[in-house]
């Protein structure tokens, strides 16, 4: 999944879009090493650095990896997937929400 995510980050760098991760490895140090080893340029939360129970994945009841959420510019959850649905599905869903976000910005500017 990393190569496609890398290209999303590059191709959409001027768009109202951000890729964020929640990394399930043990602690921030492991995450830092993963970011360096895998050339991961986007920002991730370290899932669990206090205790097992405070882990983000526990609170969000994540039972499979990857689990993916797509959130629109208004903060509404618009898609979620258990497992990678494929590049094309992701690209189209993201592009649609970016168009929506830019459309509502234009409306505001015109009003």
């Amino acid at each position: 999944m990393f190569p496609h995510e890398r290209s999303l980050v590059n191709n959409l760098k001027d768009e109202p879009f951000v890729l964020l991760g929640v990394n399930g490895d043990s602690d921030p140090e492991a995450l830092k090493k993963m970011n360096e080893d895998q050339d991961i340029t986007w920002r991730s939360f370290a899932n669990s650095h206090d205790s097992y129970d405070s882990a983000i994945s526990q609170r969000w009841n994540v039972n499979g990896w990857p689990t993916l959420y797509l959130i629109d510019a208004n903060g509404k959850i618009r898609n979620r997937w258990l497992g990678n649905p494929g590049d094309q599905v992701l690209d189209e869903a993201i592009a649609g929400l970016i168009e929506e976000a830019k459309g509502s910005e234009t409306e505001k500017a015109g009003a």
């Binding site: 951000v18 399930g24 830092k32 939360f45 650095h49 993916l68 959130i71 979620r80 258990l82 992701l90």
Partner: protein, 247 residues
């Protein structure tokens, strides 16, 4: 030499023991797993004929079982194997399910079988739901009743995550989660994920806050450099949030 003979049998992939050398359920399961992984790695579906050989070997272990727990484990393996053929080997799956619900409905380890039924091929969804209804109606064992309740709730959440659950399931889920907390809260998850009260409260959080259409709750934490940040720092942008790990 014995080890080499064993290895040769593994290469041929026969689940049957050589004469005089009965295979244990664990060995059958290991051979089966090896075959399954080799198939998937080669980009193939496991073949029905081969799966049938494994199913028959597992079935022999049901009759050879020394106690109810072993018999349940063997029937569990039959169900697992017969769900892996393309479309599912419905008759074999059903047969194992019938034996479990007729003969072992009060056996505590039935909870492990039920826990594994969250995902089955579409052809087995109807039989799976009937099996769970039958077990729920017949069992007098609290762990088994708890497992049916938990298994059903997990299935609904999973279906919702995979693209949406149906309305009837959506209507019954809140009641199931309340029941899990109230009646079975002290039951421990067999895989160490906490007790059912804790799990039910996480499931409730997901149902109430994380479905498609919900306003996303904020997240706060630290990045790989230990720098604190929040999801809401990126408000106004489209956010693609990936729960990832190296494994």
């Amino acid at each position: 030499m014995r080890g080499m003979v064993g290895a040769a049998v593994l290469c041929l992939g026969s689940p049957f023991a050589l004469a005089g050398e009965e295979k244990s359920l664990e060995q059958i399961q290991a051979d089966y797993q090896e075959y399954l992984y080799a198939s998937y790695e080669g980009g193939r579906m496991p073949e029905a004929d081969r799966l049938m050989d494994f199913v028959m070997a597992a079935y022999e272990q049901v009759d050879a079982a020394e106690d109810a727990e072993q018999a349940v484990a063997a029937l569990h393996l039959v169900m697992e194997m017969s769900s892996k053929a393309e479309g599912g080997m419905v008759a074999d799956w059903q047969d194992a399910a019938d034996r479990l619900s007729n003969e072992y409905v009060d056996e505590p380890s039935l909870a492990l079988v039920i826990d594994s039924l969250g995902y089955v091929p579409p052809a087995l969804e109807g039989p799976r739901d009937e099996f769970l209804e039958m077990v729920a109606a017949e069992t007098t064992n609290d762990e088994v009743r708890a497992a049916v309740c938990m298994g059903t709730a997990k299935r609904i959440l999973r279906e919702d995550l995979m693209g949406g659950c149906d309305e009837k399931d959506a209507a019954q889920l809140p009641g199931l989660l309340d029941k899990l907390a109230a009646d079975f809260g002290e039951v421990e998850d067999p895989y160490g994920r906490g007790n059912f009260a804790t799990m039910a409260s996480r499931m409730k959080y997901e149902w109430e806050n994380l479905r498609v259409g919900s306003q996303v709750p904020d997240l706060a934490g630290v990045d790989g450099d230990g720098v604190p940040f929040k999801l809401s720092d990126y408000a106004g942008k489209v956010i693609f949030l990936d729960f990832w790990a190296h494994w």
